[in-house]
Symmetry: C2
Subunit: 228 residues, 2 copies
DNA sequence: TTTCACCATGTTACATACAACTACGCATAA
DNA sequence: TTATGCGTAGTTGTATGTAACATGGTGAAA
């Protein structure tokens, strides 16, 4: 008789992870914009727990560079410095290239279906482009991309760095032409789907790199075009 | 008048970091071998603090993959699986190459002096090669190498992965010819010093990659030569 | 003998009380 | 007006008590 299986993943750990993802999402979608002050007491009250699990999650977020905590002062969402951003993007581009070389994971039928569905959703978004919806799809793209990374440490690094840059677009591009951005993103995802269908994993890495590169390029072009 | 500068790095944070480095060192030098059970109460008693800061540090170590905590069961040092190790090494090699390409930091006179001193120390070690001393020098090498990495995210990734593999040599190679290992390490560091003196940072990345590669190679050669 | 339920013990997760620390307002004096 | 010192409120860091959980042993029943 099998044991009742004590949930290989403990309940406590799942709740902690859910909290972590929730707060990370709030930061990434600018529900908590940079410099927002997060109170341990308020968060604890909102989620119906004590400060202990909140503090654990805030520690993880601080290790990710998403919040900064100072004794006696408070915990606030970190600001975005464009200088460091360029370095992160440069590194992300090189990591993207590695996806195709280091234990690439060719997609199965289910994966390809998910990719096609994502492309369809993005095309459908073209009618009424919303920034937050764009961000959501960008996060989905990231999730599907991670599944193609067979090398665990590489996957972890890519994931970590993605969330360090995920909120930049929403924050620094408040008034750009989101319709065009959505169109570009749709074409890029389409290119990725084609390359995946061919099973050309090396090409997948290059396409991924290109997506990141053009993202950085447009980020700085728009930035310099409209300096505040 | 300048403010008294309340130690930009708070006292609490420094103690926490010191604790983290201490436990990480104990794991890396096999003072805590894999599968060792760490008790929060014992650690708290040893360092004269309560369980809270200990738990915080153990969380960081778990994020690094160095310990594993299960509710109600305990916290133990993670085991080493050679399969995952090969993937980590593969990734580390690619990251090493990037050191020369992504914001390389050419060494100053002080840096070069430190490198030469390290080489001298390693050569001096040749008379009575001790495994733990070897590990110490390997850690020093890592520290000097980090100073040459100008790209912060890359530096962080290299640092994280180093400590995921630092203990492998001591653990899986209990009875190899350490004198020869020290000799090889000395030659490798010498090569690195030469390349640094030339200011050839691209070469530095390649030499670094080679050091990691040969390390992996010898690891598996010895492993297969003496299977238990 | 084997199997299974249960309990005792020790561990981590969580909650809560207290200490350390910061920032800000306000009074005060130059 | 401006600078300065201090007190107070509010925050994070730490200590400690309580709950949830896992593990091993014991003993009874099949």
């Amino acid at each position: 008789m099998n044991r009742p299986i004590p949930n290989r993943r403990s309940r406590a750990r799942e709740r902690s992870d859910a909290l972590y993802r929730e707060l990370r999402a709030r930061i990434s979608t600018l529900e908590y914009p940079p410099l927002t002050v997060l109170s341990e007491n308020l968060l604890a009250a909102e989620f119906g727990v004590s400060r202990s699990p909140i503090r654990q999650v805030l520690n993880r977020l601080e290790a990710d560079g998403l919040v900064e905590t100072r004794h006696g002062a408070g915990t606030m969402v970190t600001d975005i410095d464009l200088a460091g951003l360029e370095q992160i993007y440069g590194f992300r581009m090189r990591l993207a290239e590695l996806v195709g070389d280091l234990d690439p994971a060719p997609p199965g039928p289910t994966d390809l279906a998910a990719w096609r569905a994502l492309k369809a959703d993005i095309v459908a978004l073209h009618d009424r482009p919303e920034p937050v919806a764009y961000a959501r799809f960008n996060m989905q793209f990231h999730g599907l991309m991670l599944d193609r990374v067979g090398n665990p440490p590489l996957r972890e690094a890519i994931d970590r760095l993605f969330f360090q840059t995920a909120r930049v677009w929403l924050h620094n591009m408040p008034d750009i032409d989101w319709a065009e951005e959505v169109a570009i993103f749709g074409r890029e995802v389409g290119m990725m789907v084609q390359t995946l269908e061919l099973g050309d994993m090396h090409g997948v890495g290059l396409v991924y790199r290109n997506i990141i590169a053009s993202s950085l390029y447009r980020l700085f072009v728009y930035r310099h075009a409209a300096p505040d």
